[in-house]
């Protein structure tokens, strides 16, 4: 059974004559442990798709099954739990807490809950895995863009989620740094995580396509297409 399954998911913004169909009856299945890149032009609906998968937005119609549960009908309280336990978010702008050190940022999803010593150990281990093990107490403002994104990746993994959602994770990075971030994400995919990356960067799509676990999806006008030539003709 697919880890993620979308059935005729639509998302419509606006009303009356100003209706925008961000997603148009999308059907999609994603297996556990795969690396999926979603590419498409601006306004094509790729971020909307990511937000719906991450339960930050709800579809106008259709069903979103994650691990067999339809998250499109869950109440807000359950969605919080879903986000905490199932999803790890990585954003283009990192969104780290400026007044908290690196380990504090990694632990931030757990702040409202009782942070155990094992959580601290895990946070340290994650920071080591992203190459920042020697800077646990550093301030965020002293980090470069690549380092900030590494901290964001570590933060997204602190709850040991099944799915990592990355929205333009290399958008603010130079190509070398971006490459290292992608390699880092792929490393976690090899450890069993399902990774969905929204990107404009064709190189990421190519790397994903070449990877044994990789898969590319193109989206335009709210419709998906798995055909790699689709974008060449349609963009």
């Amino acid at each position: 059974m697919a880890l993620i399954k979308l059935e005729k998911v639509s998302k419509i913004y606006g009303e009356y004559s100003h209706v925008i169909k961000a997603l148009d009856e999308v059907d999609l299945e994603i297996e556990k442990g795969t690396i999926v890149t979603i590419m498409g032009p601006s306004g094509s609906g790729k971020s909307t798709l990511l937000n719906i998968l991450g339960a930050m937005d709800i579809p106008s119609s259709g069903k979103v099954f994650v691990d067999g549960i339809d998250i499109s009908v869950l109440p807000e309280r359950s969605l919080s739990t879903y986000r905490k336990e199932t999803i790890g978010f990585i954003f283009q702008n990192y969104y780290l807490l400026p007044n908290v050190d690196l380990i504090g940022n990694v632990l931030s999803p757990l702040i409202p809950y009782r942070i155990k010593e094992s959580d601290r150990e895990r946070a340290k281990k994650l920071l080591e895995e992203v190459g920042l093990g020697n800077r646990l107490r550093s301030k965020v403002r002293k980090l470069s863009g690549g380092e900030s994104q590494r901290v964001a990746i570590a933060r997204s993994l602190i709850n040991n989620p099944k799915i990592l959602l990355a929205d333009e994770p290399t958008g603010n990075l130079d190509s070398e740094t971006g490459k290292s971030i992608v390699e880092l994400l792929f490393k976690f995919a090899e450890n069993g995580k399902t990774i969905i990356i929204v990107t404009h960067d064709a190189r990421i799509a190519k790397v994903a396509n070449d990877h044994k676990l990789g898969r590319n999806i193109w989206i335009k006008d709210g419709k998906l297409n798995d055909d790699p030539t689709y974008d060449l003709f349609c963009w």
Binding site: S47, N51, G54, M56, D57, E76, R77, S80, T81, R83, K84, E85, G88, F89, F91, N93, Y95, L97, P98, N99, V100, G104, S108, P109, I111, P112, R155, S156, N159
Partner: protein, 412 residues
């Protein structure tokens, strides 16, 4: 969560501290007013106890030297039914008209309106009463029939003229001071202050023998052989009992029992109670002051927190995206505003205690004022701070908790 929220409260240090100081000033006001209210109330209670059963009797509608009670009035009262049997003791004094001591007006302390009042005392009665003649701290009491006097101990520090034992005090026998008599100071009696601030003028009493006082009045062609005031100590256990006796005397007087003289009796405790009632009326405004303080402080926190929350919507959106629930965000904002208000309470308490210590010390130019710092007062301030923190954090917390991550992050 707690440490995280406390740290967050000070992310914009200047705004946070200014907000706390604003709250501190309000809470300090509540604390100081409360402490002084408690102090004054306690003083009233002490004075009420001290003055239990004390009643002054003067000639009706007359005060000072204008009050002229016949010298047999004490005996009349002692023999009056339902009054005399309750009298434990009494004292009498005859106050001389103001011009007798007018040479010393304004000579106590510069720019003050202190006066020297000459009074006659019946030494025998006064000693049994533990009046001035039995409170001599230097020298001795005057002797009956001699031109001698004893003087208020407080005048020693402030007089601009010689008040040492053996010196002469000039007593005028006419308003212009053309004719005068000298009284020799033979003793200084202890006189405690009445608690009034120093800017209130003081009447310093100079006591001489009652027969000398009457003699001086005769020489000045004034009416003599009278008492201005009779102070009675009744054997009572409550102010209510005293009031009954006061009413008795006034009724008897109005009925002509003491005719041709008519008197007014008043209880000192009742007088204090009247002042206390006025004070309590003033105190009734304290809750209004507190409410205004709480509202003003609440507004300060709401504004501070709204600013903080508005500038951190993305942060709350991210926290929600990582699994924080609405109530976690709300609680975080409430803890932040509680932190600011409790810091305000600490600053307010420290400022308040400093002010109280200053006003209670001799450094206060208006004289030391009694205040009581109570545990209840401290808890009241903390309770106000907690109320402020919660009140001030409610709306910003609600606003922050309702943030929709997708809307905020889409606006990036």
């Amino acid at each position: 969560m707690l440490i995280f929220s406390i740290k967050n409260a000070f992310r914009k240090k200047a705004i946070a501290i200014l907000s706390s100081i604003g709250i501190a000033v309000g809470l300090m006001l509540v604390f100081v007013v409360g402490a002084f209210t408690a102090g004054v109330t306690a003083d009233f209670q002490v004075n009420l106890t001290k003055t239990l059963g004390l009643v002054n009797v003067i000639e009706k509608s007359q005060i000072g030297s204008n009050s002229k009670l016949p010298i047999d009035f004490p005996d009349t009262l002692l023999n009056t039914e339902n009054v005399g049997d309750k009298i434990l003791g009494y004292s009498v004094e005859a106050e001389l008209p103001p011009y007798f001591g007018s040479d010393y007006d304004g000579q106590m302390v510069e720019d003050r309106a202190d006066r020297l009042i000459v009074k006659g005392l019946n030494k025998t009665i006064d000693e049994s009463w533990e009046g001035p003649t039995s409170r001599i701290i230097s020298g001795r009491a005057f002797e009956p029939g001699k031109n001698e006097s004893i003087i208020d101990s407080r005048i020693v520090d402030v007089a601009q003229f010689n008040v040492s034992i053996g010196s002469q005090i000039k007593v005028n026998l006419d308003p212009g001071g053309i004719t005068s008599v000298n009284l020799t100071i033979v003793g200084i009696y202890r006189q405690d202050g009445d608690g009034a601030p120093p800017f209130v003028p003081i009447n310093f009493n100079l006591f001489t023998d009652i027969t000398i006082a009457w003699d001086l009045l005769e020489k000045a062609n004034e009416t003599s052989n009278y008492y201005s005031l009779m102070t009675i100590q009744f054997n009572v256990e409550s102010n209510a009992e005293t009031e009954v006796l006061v009413d008795n005397i006034n009724e008897l007087s109005d009925n002509g029992t003491f005719s041709p003289v008519f008197v007014s009796a008043y209880s000192l405790a009742a007088f204090l109670e009247q002042i206390e009632a006025t004070f309590e009326l003033f105190n009734s405004f304290t809750p209004i002051l507190s409410i205004v303080t709480v509202l003003a402080g609440g507004m300060a926190i709401i504004v501070t927190q709204l600013m903080a929350v508005s500038s951190r919507m993305k942060e709350f959106a991210i926290l929600k995206a990582t699994g924080w629930k609405n109530r976690h965000i709300f609680l975080n904002v409430i803890i932040e505003s509680l932190t600011l208000s409790l810091l305000g309470a600490v600053i307010g308490l420290l400022l308040g205690i400093s002010l109280i210590l200053f006003f209670g010390s001799n450094l206060n130019p208006f004289g030391s004022v009694g205040a009581i710092i109570t545990v209840g007062g401290v808890f009241e301030v903390i309770a106000y701070a907690v109320g402020l923190g919660i009140l001030g954090g409610l709306y910003p917390g609600y606003k922050a908790s309702k943030v929709r991550p997708v809307i905020v992050l889409k606006g990036e």
